[in-house]
Structures are given as structure tokens and as C-alpha cells.
């Protein structure tokens, strides 16, 4: 049963530290999405890639967030420096073809103190 994997599942860090979250999409999926879930804002799209090319990152705070796909099996989301308001659950999702069916990973729960 193919799944999207995310690491780490939980991360607690201090304000100002760099945080890197990793996502392994389902093999063969060519579209990868990053979402953030908070109580206040709900689920928000941060960025997405198709065939490893970034298509939209308008949902990301540009000064501190960056998303990359170094290869087809790995997507990364970095926050530098982290702030308490970044505390959230970050989900990665992948899709094949046109990507209308997205498969979500279990999420990374980030706490910034």
C-alpha cells in the first residue's frame, strides 16, 4: 500500500533555529504539495511542484520559508529562522498525472518555543 511519508513526525525547537521537514511522495507521482494546518487559519496551501518544477509558492512567507525538490523522491520544506507563529502541522501530499487526487502524508507537527 503506497503512502506518502514525512519526517520527522514531531519537532520541537526554539525560536530562531532552522527547521527542515522532508517528504517522500508516492513513487511515480509527479506533483507534490505542501500545506499547513493551524487552528486559526485551517488548512492553507504553501507551495507545490510538478515534475520537480515549482509552480506556485505564493502561500509561503518568502523571507523565511523555502521549498525544494532535489530529486523526484524527496521534497523539503525549510524554515529559517523559525518563529512561534510557525507552530502548526505541515502536510505533504502527492498526486499523479494531473494531480486531482492528492494523497496526504501523516504530517509533521512543529512546535516553536
Amino acid at each position: 500500500d503506497a503512502r506518502v511519508t514525512q519526517t520527522p513526525r514531531h519537532k520541537v525547537t526554539e525560536m530562531g533555529q532552522e527547521v527542515t521537514m522532508r517528504c517522500q511522495p508516492i513513487l511515480g507521482h509527479n506533483t507534490v504539495f505542501w500545506y499547513r494546518q493551524t487552528m486559526m487559519q485551517g488548512l492553507e496551501l504553501l507551495a507545490y511542484f510538478r515534475n520537480r518544477a515549482p509552480l506556485d509558492d505564493s502561500g509561503m512567507p518568502k523571507d523565511r520559508f523555502s521549498a525544494e525538490m532535489p530529486d523526484a523522491t524527496l521534497a523539503t520544506l525549510k524554515i529559517q529562522p523559525s518563529e512561534p507563529r510557525d507552530s502548526a502541522v505541515y502536510f505533504c501530499a502527492s498526486g499523479a498525472g494531473q494531480g486531482f487526487k492528492q494523497y496526504f502524508g501523516p504530517g509533521t507537527r512543529l512546535t516553536v518555543t
Partner: protein, 116 residues
């Protein structure tokens, strides 16, 4: 840009009763519609989607939804709920971009509470 409104933040229902979770959307372009379910401390799972064709779509776990273009709605229904249906339900829309789906725009979610 698109937006999604889920009219109820919480819906309590007795077990084996029917339920409807309401969703309305707004968009300046044609969109595709989805319902996702999230169980506690888990990721999201697709319940059903509407891309084209019949406006009544059936999904997993006995759920169905009807697309109504004139009312810009996509309400989710189940004729008889079970305790295991207790979860958060999200309505979402997506448009075409870059040769495929762009990211999902989600509603705020509806917490379905099943009472025994």
C-alpha cells in the same frame, strides 16, 4: 481566486441517522470539488471528488455529494452514520493550472460528532 464556506463548524448526529454537511464555494474560474476526511492525529483522506459528468458522486464509506452549479454548492450526505464516522470533514476546490490541478483551497472544516 477561490473560496470555500462550510456553514457548520460542528454537527452532532445520532448513530444511524442521516447527515448532510454543507459546502458552498466561490470562484471566477471553473473548479473541481472535493471532500476530505481527517481522523484525529492523521492526514487527510479523499472521500469523493467531482471533476465532470453526473452531478451526484459517490465516494467511500457510503458518502455521496451533489454538485449544484447554480447554487455553487457541494453538500455531503450519508443516509446512516456510524460511530466510526466521527471526524473532521473538509470541503475543497481546485482549478486547472500548469497542465494539472493547482493546490486545494479548503473550507474551515465541519466536525461530525456521532452520538450513540
Amino acid at each position: 481566486a477561490q473560496s470555500v464556506t462550510q456553514l457548520d463548524s460542528q454537527v452532532p448526529v445520532f448513530e444511524e441517522a442521516p447527515v448532510e454537511l454543507r459546502c458552498n464555494y466561490s470562484s471566477s474560474v471553473s473548479v473541481y470539488l472535493f471532500w476530505y476526511v481527517q481522523y484525529p492525529n492523521q492526514g487527510l483522506q479523499l472521500l469523493l471528488k467531482y471533476l465532470s459528468g453526473s452531478t451526484l458522486v459517490k465516494g467511500i464509506n457510503g458518502f455521496e455529494a451533489e454538485f449544484n452549479k447554480s447554487q455553487t454548492s457541494f453538500h455531503l450526505r450519508k443516509p446512516s452514520v456510524h460511530i466510526s464516522d466521527t471526524a473532521e470533514y473538509f470541503c475543497a476546490v481546485s482549478a486547472l493550472a500548469g497542465g494539472g490541478a493547482d493546490g486545494l483551497t479548503f473550507g474551515k472544516g465541519t466536525h461530525l460528532i456521532i452520538q450513540p
